[in-house]
């Protein structure tokens, strides 16, 4: 992932010049993805940071990942 992600949740894709904004949770997940964490580790981090149940975190992460894929921002 070559996205430029700033601390306010502004995302710039340098390959096509499109920019996006994400909320605090989206930014948290993107930073973990960029740090190379696997899904299981991200779910654990989400649960610790946002006080959610693992099932909820997993569902939200899958939804977010599907959105990234649909926007060509992430590979399989």
């Amino acid at each position: 992932m070559t996205l430029a992600v700033n601390k306010n949740g502004f995302i710039f894709d340098p390959e096509n010049g499109i920019s996006y904004t994400v909320n605090e949770t989206g930014l948290f997940v993107l930073q973990k993805l960029q740090a190379g964490l696997q899904n299981g580790e991200i779910i654990t981090s989400l649960c610790a940071e946002f006080e959610v149940e693992p099932e909820q975190a997993r569902s939200d992460l899958e939804h977010f990942a599907a959105m990234l894929k649909a926007l060509n921002l992430a590979e399989d």
Partner: protein, 354 residues
């Protein structure tokens, strides 16, 4: 490579196309880029119209001279140039308008005899990028072009009605392009464009996808000395990009490099490219000069106008500095306050010396 420095260059540079406004010409950003490289010498503005706004901008052109339109021919062009040269030396000329590039190319020898250097393509390179040649020259080289039809009469549109998928783009030979949603609109644009720019009219399929513009300086041997790709973020109702961001896309850069290699392009140009939803790059147009957004190249670290001055002067440059992706430009319009006397000088005398 380090930032280009023109601070020690004591020459006079002539630049054309000083109109800004809703359909801006590239002269003003070219001059600003040259000044940004520390150039302290004289800038001469060559204009066709007394209302070109850059004339009235303080600190831009030191002297301004009105030129005859290129269509009046080489004799009147050279006669006017000789008069200007009796008032000031010109060492480098950077023409920035499509319609005048051919006369500068054809008169390269005469310009050299007068001490004026340029860095332009050959006439053959220039002609190969003509909108009416793109569809013949590039596809055999593996460079895709949107499906294109050359129209000699409005009837041709009706003859194509079964194979056309609307909307389509209808383009004038030199300038202007309009989207047509149906046969009637296509016909209307045909007549409007024919009246302005003559035949043929170009009808092109629309490729859905991401559109990019790339400003390039080619070395004339197939290599890009510099290249800055951008995506337009703000587009006016005339289709002009009034805002954009520099992108870093290796696929796009290698495609643009192939186009320049195919032409062995020498000098500045702008490529319009679409990456279709099928992932294929399509070449839409090649403009044979700097675009009006060329200041973005200077702003992102690659001062192509400054490089063009050095190349015209015979300096050898292997490549230009790297550009910074994510650099943004937004065009800002501002009123210039001047004096009617300046308009009088340029209208009556055809010149303005500050």
């Amino acid at each position: 490579m380090n930032k280009l420095d023109l601070s020690k260059l004591d020459i006079t540079i002539a630049v054309t196309g000083l109109k800004t406004g809703d359909n801006p010409q590239p002269g003003v950003p070219v001059i600003r880029s040259i000044r940004a490289a520390g150039f302290k010498g004289k800038i001469v503005g060559l204009v066709y119209d007394a209302m070109e706004s850059g004339i009235y901008l303080k600190g831009l052109a030191d002297e301004v001279y009105q030129m005859p339109y290129p269509s009046t021919g080489a004799d009147s062009f050279l006669a006017r140039l000789d008069y200007i040269l009796s008032r000031t030396k010109i060492h480098v000329a950077i023409p920035t308008l499509d319609s005048e590039i051919p006369i500068y190319i054809r008169l390269e020898k005469e310009l050299m005899q007068r001490g004026i250097k340029t860095f332009l393509p050959t006439e053959e390179q220039f002609n190969l990028r003509d909108k009416i040649k793109l569809a013949q020259f590039f596809p055999p080289l593996g460079i895709d072009i949107p499906k294109t039809h050359l129209l000699q009469s409005a009837d041709d549109i009706y003859k194509l009605k079964d194979e056309l998928e609307f909307p389509v783009i209808v383009k004038g030979r030199l300038y202007e392009a309009y989207k047509a949603l149906n046969l009637f609109e296509a016909q209307k644009h045909f007549f409007d464009l024919q009246a302005k720019w003559g035949l043929p009219i170009i009808l092109q399929e629309i490729i859905p996808g991401d559109e990019f513009n790339v400003v390039i300086v080619g070395d004339g041997k197939g290599k890009c000395l510099g290249m800055v790709p951008q995506r337009k973020l703000v587009i006016t109702d005339k289709g002009k990009g009034f805002g954009g961001v520099v992108v870093k896309n290796p696929g796009l850069e290698s495609y643009a490099q192939r186009v320049i290699e195919a032409l062995s392009w020498r000098g500045p140009c702008e490529l319009e490219i679409i990456k279709g939803e099928d992932g294929v790059f399509y070449l839409i147009e090649i403009n044979p000069r700097f675009p009006a957004w060329v200041r973005l190249a200077e702003g992102c670290g690659q001062n192509q106008p400054a490089a063009t001055v050095l190349l015209a002067m015979g300096e050898k440059l292997d490549s230009l500095p790297l550009f910074k992706p994510g650099t943004l430009f937004i065009r800002h319009a501002e009123d210039i306050i001047s004096d009617i006397a300046l308009l009088g000088d340029i209208s009556v005398n055809g010149e303005l010396v500050r």
